[in-house]
């Protein structure tokens, strides 16, 4: 499996390790894929976010399993069982704060991870399938987060579930039957809550499986790097351990400080106070907003005055990312060598953040107009700017190898 000049670590000659590896080569895999694994020598801190996302997946699964031991998925008991977790269960408050803020942290990390891929062209050949697997993970995360938010059965849980499941009613002919099927009834109710709990428990393990495929695809050609050029030889690479284990550990420590701030000092900053009101199917809150990580997509949904059109565009905003490797016609990967692309990249960042703000506002007046402009810009970026940039942009000269600029700057 190892395509590089693999020199086994000393522990590989241990007789027990040898005995195990002869039957299941698990130590060999760890040694080849994690310890001696050659990574580009110039990875910067933006490359920390993949491992951070992995850590968050583990944190979410662990805290979630222990929460599930005290949670009751029924419309009568759900809200109270969450309050019991907060008040009576030992450290229940900690588990819940870790889980609810962990979802936000997971999305922050993944959004930065995606943005890094966009800037450095990590989606380009030969990493298209790696990119797709990442997008599938992102979609599964969104489904998991949405269903998890329904479980506490507050007003925002209930109405969020109602509005989002109703998106499917926009599908011509079969839309209504699909929604009834999703609900298991004629409104969001006990059957809906039960199945959402079952699926919310299942999907993280689906994500874990997709993560393994994502890593597998990653290790075929190795990480992209800030220069976006391929490694020319062993001088361009360094072993993952200790260089990147240390770098990842340091980044993780910094990240955990930020995460801990939310968990211990500001656990409700990212939440919605309306979810303290138990679900009431007869009263809609005056202003329904999803969690912050869905706001850009919510803004796209609302910027179209037509129901089916809005739903199509919202799903299209993610679907278009799947064809991104072919929409970006430039052969240069890294934005570092693409002066014009860089301008549009940052414009795109501003557009998505602005869309997020629009999604948090009532859909009227300025916020609606700005949202519509940004929706157009979002799609123009992929459908017009990126294809044309590849043709008209003159990229800067690429360095001869990864090692060259590193050694040059070291010599100064």
């Amino acid at each position: 499996m190892a395509k590089y000049d693999y020199v086994p670590s000393p522990f590989m000659s241990n007789p027990i390790v040898k005995w195990v590896d002869h039957r299941l080569p698990i130590f060999e895999m760890v040694d080849q894929q994690l310890i001696k694994y050659p990574a580009p020598r110039n990875l910067n801190y933006w490359w920390n976010f993949g491992s951070l996302a992995g850590v968050m997946l583990v944190v979410m699964i662990l805290s979630g399993i222990f929460l599930a031991m005290n949670y009751q998925p029924s419309t009568v008991a759900a809200f109270d069982s969450v309050e019991r977790i907060m008040r009576d269960v030992n450290y229940g408050w900690l588990l819940r704060y870790m889980h609810m803020n962990g979802a936000s942290m997971f999305f922050v990390v993944v959004y930065i991870h995606i943005a890094r891929g966009l800037y450095y062209g990590s989606y380009k050949a030969p990493r298209e399938i790696l990119w797709w697997l990442g997008l599938l993970i992102f979609l599964a995360m969104m489904a998991t987060a949405f269903m998890g938010y329904v479980l506490p059965w507050g007003q925002m849980s209930f109405w969020g579930a109602t509005v989002i499941t109703n998106l499917f009613s926009a599908i011509p002919l079969v839309g209504k039957s699909i929604v009834t099927w999703l609900w298991g009834g004629f409104s969001v109710d006990n059957p809906t809550l039960n199945r959402f709990f079952a699926l919310h428990y299942l999907l993280p393990f689906v994500i874990a499986g997709l993560v393994l495929l994502h890593l597998w695809a990653l290790h075929v050609h190795g990480s992209n790097n800030p220069l976006g050029i391929d490694a020319k030889g062993p001088q361009d690479k360094i072993p993952f351990h200790p260089y990147y284990t240390v770098k990842d550990a340091f980044g993780l420590s910094v990240f955990l400080i930020i995460y801990a701030y939310f968990v211990f000092f500001n656990p409700y900053m990212l939440g919605d106070p309306d979810n303290w009101i138990p679900a009431n199917p007869l009263v809609t809150p005056p202003h329904i907003v999803p969690e912050w990580y869905f706001l850009p997509f919510y803004a796209i949904l609302r910027s179209v005055p037509d129901k089916l059109g809005g739903v199509t565009l919202m799903f299209g905003a993610i679907a278009i990312l799947f064809v991104l490797p072919w929409l970006d016609t430039s052969r240069v990967r890294s934005g570092r060598f693409r002066p014009a692309f860089r301008v549009f990249f940052w414009l795109f960042m501003v557009v998505t953040v602005t869309l997020g703000w629009c999604g948090s506002q009532p859909p009227e007046g300025m916020a609606l107009t700005i949202g519509q402009i940004c929706t157009v810009l979002y799609f123009l970026h992929f459908l017009v700017f990126l294809p044309l940039l590849g043709w008209f942009e003159r990229p800067l000269p690429l360095p001869a190898s990864i090692a060259e600029p590193v050694l040059k700057s070291a010599a100064k």
Partner: protein, 191 residues
Amino acid sequence: MAQPGTSTLTTSPGGGRQHEDGTARRDFLYLSATAFGATGAVLTGWAFISSMNPSADVLALSSTEVNLSAMQPGQAITVVWRGKPVFVRYRTPEEIAKAKADDKADLRDPELDSKRVQKSQWLILVGVCTHLGCVPLGQKPTDPHGDFGGWFCPCHGSHYDTSGRIRKGPAPKNLEVPTYTFLNDTTIRIG
């Protein structure tokens, strides 16, 4: 040599017997076994998918009786039917006249007021916005009633008139009229 259209059995290099046109008994077995297995998988899969549709106990709760005798003209009540709010409105003569006049207005989902009621004073609607399922405001006198004197959905700004027809905003359809029957002058059964 076999005549065209007929075939004889020969022994293939693998030992299996096959016809001269290259087909073998084994091909038939592969195809039929695969088809058999696939059919079974689909039928079994249907059981799983169908289990997510409304169950018998949910369907059994699908009608609600409402006593209207205490209501006065201009009053509205909200009752629960199949987990959803149903608006029952005792319309005033002015509201009825307005709804009838609006029959000629520019309607997105054209429907005569007379087709939406059984007795013109009793307007009965599923109180769920046809956009994304919020409950419109307008049941209480203090609620906003929208630009057309009926209901207003606060989520995404749909306006409904005194017949519950969509007049403005993103919703595509009129508020749905549920199936209901008058059991006597003052009692209805919804569903």
